[in-house]
Amino acid sequence: MRITAILLAVAVGVVSGLGLTWLASAGALGFGTVKIGAWTTWPKSGTPEADPYSRAFYARSGELPLGSTDGIAFTATADDNGAALNGRCDIHIAGRMPAARFWTLTLYDGQGRLIENASERHGYTSAEVLWKPDSQIEIVLATRARGGNWIPTGGRERVSAVLRFYDAPIGLTGRSSNTVELPAVWQEFCP
């Protein structure tokens, strides 16, 4: 009986502990991240004060975080309502961008790879995007070509968008910052 109890405790401990670390280091639990609308970022990931969750995430993924004097990156894997971004829908990213010297928006598939397409269009930079007259932008991620700012999704079921601001005075305080306004993300015409 005693042995069973100890084995049970150890099994629960190992499975729950490793499982939690596995999910957290994949960024799936939101530990250590800041969320603004549909967008999340690892604050301080570009500084020596980066927290253990962000260090674990970058070490595991093999990515290099943007240095703090370089820029800040926000990732959206779901829309404003929390529904996962589906490349078979029309995904709209629209609104005003915070002040920055430049920004880029890049689309990746579920594994973080660029998506093959004939026009070799994987994203936009603030210098090439078409702006609306009121200095707002609207970018559509969709399978079929359209006018305006369009990024092909290749019909992938899971996609993620990364918005990066360079040389930008964006300071983050607290877990859900309202000091920065980022564009809205919504989906329509889902199959």
Binding site: S45, A59, L64
Partner: protein
């Protein structure tokens, strides 16, 4: 049922400890971090260009495709490293990472305020060993202290539109990263 309660609770406490320990150990244990990936490109203390990411392959995952990336994996055992980066018309940045992928310093062309970002990379011990008067004459030069002997210098040039790629690449071809002679 009640007799399982205590072991499960004890297990969850243990799980918390396992989680904290493994999370903290992850940077040491990760076998496929950026430093390891970049070591396939070429020798340390020299500049290599990252091939443009394609849907099939990216050495550094989720890097911004709107940039030309050059890297210099360094080992300061050989001595102080001198890094020279000519900035391009649009935007150029230099970022420093430890072997474990921790970003400890970064600078961009505006912050540097010059057409060429020039700096010396050294360990705290190498900096302490600098002759004192030399330190004064070098006050106008940028010294970056690396917390680890090994690490990564990432040099990035912004490509505002695809047509500018070649021009930015040519400009960055003059990047140097080598032990000080």
């Amino acid at each position: 049922m009640r007799r399982y309660l205590l072991p499960v609770l004890a297990g969850l406490v243990l799980g918390g400890i396992v989680h904290i320990v493994t999370t903290l150990a992850m940077p040491q244990l990760a076998l496929d971090n950026a430093f390891v990936r970049l070591s396939k490109l070429g020798p340390a203390n020299s500049v290599q260009f990252l091939p443009d990411a394609t849907p099939e392959e990216a050495i550094i995952p989720r890097a911004d495709p709107a940039f030309i990336n050059a890297v210099c994996r360094y080992n300061l055992d050989a001595g102080v490293l001198k890094v020279r980066v000519p900035t391009s018309a649009d935007y150029t940045s230099v970022s420093f990472y430890t072997r474990r992928g921790l970003a400890y310093y970064s600078i961009n062309d505006h912050a540097a305020g010059q057409r060429t970002i020039e700096l010396q990379l050294m360990t705290p011990a190498q900096r302490a060993a600098l002759p004192e008067d030399e330190e004064i004459t070098r006050a106008d030069r940028l010294i970056v202290e690396s917390p680890t002997t090994e690490g990564i210098v990432l040099i990035r040039g912004f490509v505002r539109e695809p047509g500018n790629r070649t021009r930015v690449r040519e400009r960055l071809a003059n990047v140097s990263c080598a032990p000080e002679s």
